[in-house]
Point group: D3
Chain length 277, copies 6
């Protein structure tokens, strides 16, 4: 994780909470008081976000030192010590809430990602992937959390790859026309992905030279038929209404990718506390 990929959202979050100081801490805590505090998992989870946690305290006070007790992406049990900070008690108290707000979301996303990955059938090569349904300002962090959980990323943003949806198809006139236009214009480095909602659409997309086809909201039987028709000529992505239950049957059906908006838009916050020694 490059700090420059989360600098802006960290600054924004610190400013929200601390731009006017901390009137309670400044009242009650001596300027030279020292403290050691440990981020502790209150439930089992996937650890994720140590660099962000460290950076928040460093921004408040460069003399606060940081130590990580777990590797990024590690599955930890109830009570596990994740990270520690040591330094000015004021600085640690001031950063506590902001730091937890970040890592609770990141660990939450990493944890749900691993849950989905674990639901694949054993030995599966199917990828669980995220979507662009990320929290505003948190995209780089959430994509990273998804990877920490063992899932994979879809395209980063609207400029980094092609994904043709129904409105593009309608505007272009047909699936083939849309794919053709995208091939003409897009950088040669991006594959061409096209969303379809029927198997006829799949056939047309394959014929037009799509690299990836997104099967939108199809039941598992239809997906299986799609896999049979595609014969490996394109990657197939299943999307829409993906539950943990469906992950296994979709992976068994042989789909290459299963995209899950819930990894980022609805991951429950992981329960992490900051315990002071």
């Amino acid at each position: 994780m490059l700090p420059l990929s989360f600098e802006a959202i960290v600054d924004l979050a610190l400013s929200e909470d601390l731009a006017s100081g901390d009137v309670t801490t400044e009242s009650c805590i001596a300027p030279d008081a020292k403290a050691v505090a440990h981020a502790v998992a209150r439930k089992p989870m996937v650890a994720c976000g140590g660099a962000v946690f460290a950076r928040i305290f460093e921004k408040i006070d460069p003399r606060v030192s940081f130590e990580a007790h777990v590797e990024e992406g590690a599955s930890v049990e109830w009570g596990a010590r994740l990270w520690s900070v040591r330094g000015s008690a004021r600085s640690i108290l001031m950063g506590e809430r902001t730091a937890l707000n970040f890592v609770q979301r990141m660990c939450g996303t990493a944890t749900i990602s691993r849950t989905y990955v674990s639901a694949l059938h054993p030995g599966s090569r199917t990828r669980i992937i995220d979507t662009r349904k990320t929290t505003p300002g948190m995209r780089a962090l959430e994509r990273y959390a998804v990877r920490c959980g063992g899932a994979h990323n879809h395209r980063d943003n609207l400029g980094s790859a092609v994904l043709i949806k129904d409105n593009h198809i309608e505007a272009a006139g047909s699936i083939s026309a849309a794919i053709d236009r995208a091939k003409q214009h897009a950088p040669h480095t991006t594959k061409i992905e096209c969303e379809v909602d029927t198997l006829e659409g799949l056939d047309e997309a394959i014929a037009a030279g799509a690299d990836i086809v997104l099967l939108d909201n199809m039941d598992t039987a239809t997906v299986k038929e799609g896999v049979a028709r595609a014969k490996g000529r394109v990657l197939l992505e299943a999307s829409g209404g993906i539950t943990l239950e469906r992950v296994r049957e979709l992976s068994e059906a042989g789909v290459d990718l299963i995209s899950v908006g819930a990894l980022t838009h609805s991951a429950p916050s992981a329960d992490i506390g900051l315990d002071f020694e």
Copy 2:
């Protein structure tokens, strides 16, 4: 909602998704194509965030026009049309995901807030309140969403009010000492709130002149006893492990405030689609 309270996070979110353009839309959609699109509730929810929705499209293209079909805070049914945008098809497609990412979170928070408010006993004057467990960068928007849902806000940030927690008490030496220091230093406009985890703590906080006492993780019986002891001399806030089930009994117990971190840290994303005419 003042635009200046969400400008920074909107800019960040747009930059994440659109800084390099939209290679698919630029390939498939004619520059002069027009479109009308409607944000539609795919489930019952509390509407919230029209101004943000509008601002995102306006930032992409000032000529996109916006119309709201519901009042902020309105409860809407499945299928309700929330807001519409009209203008360049390219501009609307480019803003779609970012706009939905905001309002799905905001409506989600407004909706869960209303759910908690509705769980209060009828006629209750107890307030459901939020916490500082907000999404990084989204604090102003989530506090607004909480109000749209009929709940109330706790303090905005560490500089705007006093909330004495266990570490402050420990550092100051006692509850009374901490309250006394806060009274000395804090602006006269803030009430002094103090967190306690025993009824003895409550007694001491009242004696020391606290205005509000946060009863941390107490069972309902203890809370009732606390209400009896306080005799209205302080506001009482119940906090910690608040479920919908407990909301009713706590409000019946006569507590003034029930703070719920889940309003902002774990609100499920509201299901909203953008339908093109």
Copy 3:
């Protein structure tokens, strides 16, 4: 003082003066020349702003070292050495003016604040408080300077506390209606302050449950009468046309708070020089 509370204004000030370098210094001073320079009080004053002084030179050149010779808030005599910097002569010369521009204002505000505090009658518990009439961009620094001078802060900004003024009263219909609405909407952590210009207004505000009443532009006799009527049920703030002369009589009159716009809007710049060894 958290650096993040003054980073933006420091960056802006440095950019104003140094974005195109320092053509004189670059011409005349060797890149490897070293210097030691001392900020010296040219008049008696209250010291304030060491962290900002240090930060400015650190931003120009992280290798410049800083030493403080006085505590923040200390009253110093003519000729007192306040702070020293040591390092590249170029870096120190480049930061000199910007650093002085900050601390001259901050010490000026701290000094005038102490002057007002000293004008209270001996043993007084009345607070001298600031207002929102601060210098654009300097609010956090000026509020800090006020505290260094021994005075106190009023609310930080429009979002952090309630202060009902004449226009709010007129719009709401009456003092009681305005107070009632504010109580309904505002966070429970803020007290409700209401400005009145008659004693009838005071009575109404007390009856409506205000926590603080601002007595606007009343003469001392009327203020005394107000104190008598309030009987300690609300905090009373005297405001408007406060001179040093009136501070004593108002504090003797028993008012709790005296707000003085001049602490921040018209504090004379403190005379500080930077002497090179």
Copy 4:
């Protein structure tokens, strides 16, 4: 005045006061209430800053309309109406304090500038000029206010012109050496100004080819002698301890420029109120 020269400080000031909204106004004022408000001079002053005043309300709400009743730089009497805004009552109340904080400083600087200019002997060609002792973030606005008051600007910043001071002379070895180096390195568009504290220094600076010589803290008799020696070969700037009383005698002595730090570092805030219709 180009908006881009004050955009940053305006954004900062609005953020300080309004980033969390205005809890009082949102409680008491209906969203659709309209208002008209007039900025009124509570004392005689020089009007300055209409564009900034307008921009602040426009940033809060683009639909607030603005009207100027006076020209920039006009001398106005007690009670004069300066500018009006018309639109949402909420928007106007929210911007009131920030807008006044700017224009009170700007009118204050313009007014004191005019006072100094008026103290010149009749028919004088001497310029009253400002210094770099400006308020952090406000340099462009204060330089503009100085011009509105009829005074002139010194160099804008450290990169825009050469001003050799004692430390530069000491480092270069002599006045002549410093001037020579500056001539070698600086753009041909800048004059070379050199500060001296003796008449021998003046002679040396002239001989070395300075364009402007700053006479630092000299009494009027010495300044007169300096004027005689210079014989118009350089511009002479008097600086240090300039009071209104000395302005006349220095201008009579024939100095070209009198620089006054107080124009910007200690101008009293102009008394302006915002009256609602």
Copy 5:
């Protein structure tokens, strides 16, 4: 072109030139003077950048109106009128240089891009593509200019696609190992491109499943042999030391892509003047 993709660099450029106003224009041009000015091609060129040109004047003064006389990407002759602005003479003079600095670079890049495209053999399907050797801050604008000239874009940035270079290969151990790792980790939407400097490398990359192979600094004969070996199983990109002369022979050799750093790092500035009516 989305304004948000060039807002930051436009703001930076305007700030460089105009943060302290325009002392000449403010001296000589009346505030209410009007002007019309036309951007005129002083040599044949490809037109590009009208939206940026317009935006610069709009930022200075929203009342300046803009008109485009040519389509983006049009080839124009000597003397062609490209764009016109109409409004305040001051505003137009203030924006002139900044606006020209942008469009001269953009038209320069579009023009050289077209020159390279025109050097392809007739009927060629080979793409001329850009690289990441763009001007700092101008990437989105230069990529757009490349497209205006009829060439194509390579990957946008390090996060948007995979390009394995010698250091990656060395670190991974072999071409196959590097390709394999990239396939494991990268989003499914990106093709895998690998740079090789021998035909053995090409064979290995194809065998490992690369989608694109960059032939680094190979002579045309070797490239031809590479095309024969690849048999269309991968896209082939020729790179390194590409001159106009080599473009034709490389396209005849059947390579799919020819990348040319000079499109962006060394495009001569297009000669455009701003003529006032």
Copy 6:
């Protein structure tokens, strides 16, 4: 070079390339792999930009160490090692392209500047100077590069000095009127430069008290005549269509300054590679 003069453009460039990480490097390079890399001149050039080169890697990873092997402004031969970085292989690979994009432009400008300076006749006191035709966002860096090459800077921006051009003259009514107005309004620290296109214009400008006259697009014979007429009373700047060939004859003609837009708008990128040990 003050970092604050290039911080903004460095941040922008890093964000363009690295905001979404480096998918290739993250796939292929171990997090703990170390590397040493040397920037090497692939052609003779003037070295320039070490501080920027260092800063880019430091921003990505503060633990990357930097070493300079040449002085800024040194002429180096083919193969010369300019600068080295040592640290995390990932960090160095991620910064490589951005760092080179800066220094290739800076060395290119320094190199072409030296070429122009070398074309002056031996012993000449004529200055080669730059213009405001700089790359957006790069002005401070390019002006610095010009100085590294031995040339000089013209005015920094529109606010830092006066340069009267044809539109100003036309608006003011005459050369004398424009010069007069500029003298009235501009700071005393700026010289007054006026552009003329005839020798009559030159005469008028001298008579009106210009300090510098820009001879626009005059042939060498006319410039010579201008030098004769000016008799050293003003500085003369030749501008327009300056080639290396004309530099010598113009300097022999005795002109003081020769301004060359090509130093910044069309300097070829210097060929620098980053070699890994």
